[in-house]
Amino acid sequence: MPLFDRLYNFACWLTQDRSEAEDLVQETYAKALRGFASFEPGTNFRAWIYRILRNSFLTSRSGLKAKAAVELEEETLPAAKDTPESILLQRSDWELVQRALEQLPVAHREVLLLCDAEEMSYQEIAATMSIPMGTVMSRLARARRALRNAVQKMEQRPPDAGSRS
């Protein structure tokens, strides 16, 4: 099965729920199978199948909820100058980043995942999300800023769970 592990990981990040992610992956493969004729050879297969997964998610209940939350959030995001320019990694670790990612609105999380975890090009991301390249770039910049904000906040106020050493 092409890209199974990556799609599953991506689905979990989107839904933040294992059983929902399983449904999503299953639905994605079923749709891909049915719609295979619509895939044009020579175009990007990865972007095609990620787009199916993403669209399935966005039309699901939790997807619709997440979408509504994002639109609100993007307008109220603080301006660039208030945010740190990069995460101070000496003091952060990947578990902190993981928790920060979980807190991000789904629109920011997904663009970071596609760009940094899946290492898609801007063009692939644009094809996956069905948005223009320029929007990919601005959304990515915003998502990174939001991630830095979240990490900074968590460093100032470490969670009492104490999962970090």
């Binding site: 990981n9 399983e22 079923a30 295979f36 995460i87 980043v97 770039m137």
Partner: protein
Amino acid sequence: MACAEWSEKLDGYVDGELTPAEEREFNEHLRSCAGCAAETLGRVREKQMVRAAASGRFVADAAFRGRVQKSVARWPSIWGRVWVPVLVSLGVLIVAASLLFMISRRRASEQALLSELVDVHVATIASANPVDVVSSDRHTVKPWFAGKIPFTFNLPELQGSAFTLVGGRVSYLRQSPGAELIFRVRQHEISVFIFQEKDLAGGGDVRSLHSAKSFNARSWNRGGLVYFAISDVNGADLDALKALMNSAG
């Protein structure tokens, strides 16, 4: 702090999305600007950190993987999508190429047949004794061939036409005997060769035979025989003679 003018290119640099020229410029700037260099380093490590945090974090259990695997057992291979059209077009190419080859071979064999006949025709006319049976009367020529060739043919009534029958001789084509008849029209000789179709198997359909250099040619099949008319007269005369021959018997 990164310089304002460069900071907007930071994402593109880190994601490898700058053009080669932009990237070169950026690298040059980094060498001379400690602020941008530090910031860039931070961004690169940030990207690595996100990758480490996000990719492969969730792993499907075997049961789920098996379930999906089963449901997509019919998954068409992406290679099929790619290779089937490639193989099909290759197949079409091969068929087209062999067709072309066959056509050109047939054309070559027709051409060879034509030049063979033209040679015979020229040799006949140049000969001191062009014909073995001399006649202007079809009733002496036809019986002369009896016993000399393994088939019979009919000759047309030429009275009232522009053609006269000079005579005939036995000719050979592809080791098979046939008749060569010499007609005359306005001081031009026309050779009409008659062979059995079965003897020329492989010579094939010669209906496309038309002309070679200064000679015109016509060929047609009738009653198991192949007729070739070769001459330096124009095509219309050959067509008229062909019509006459076909009207015979």
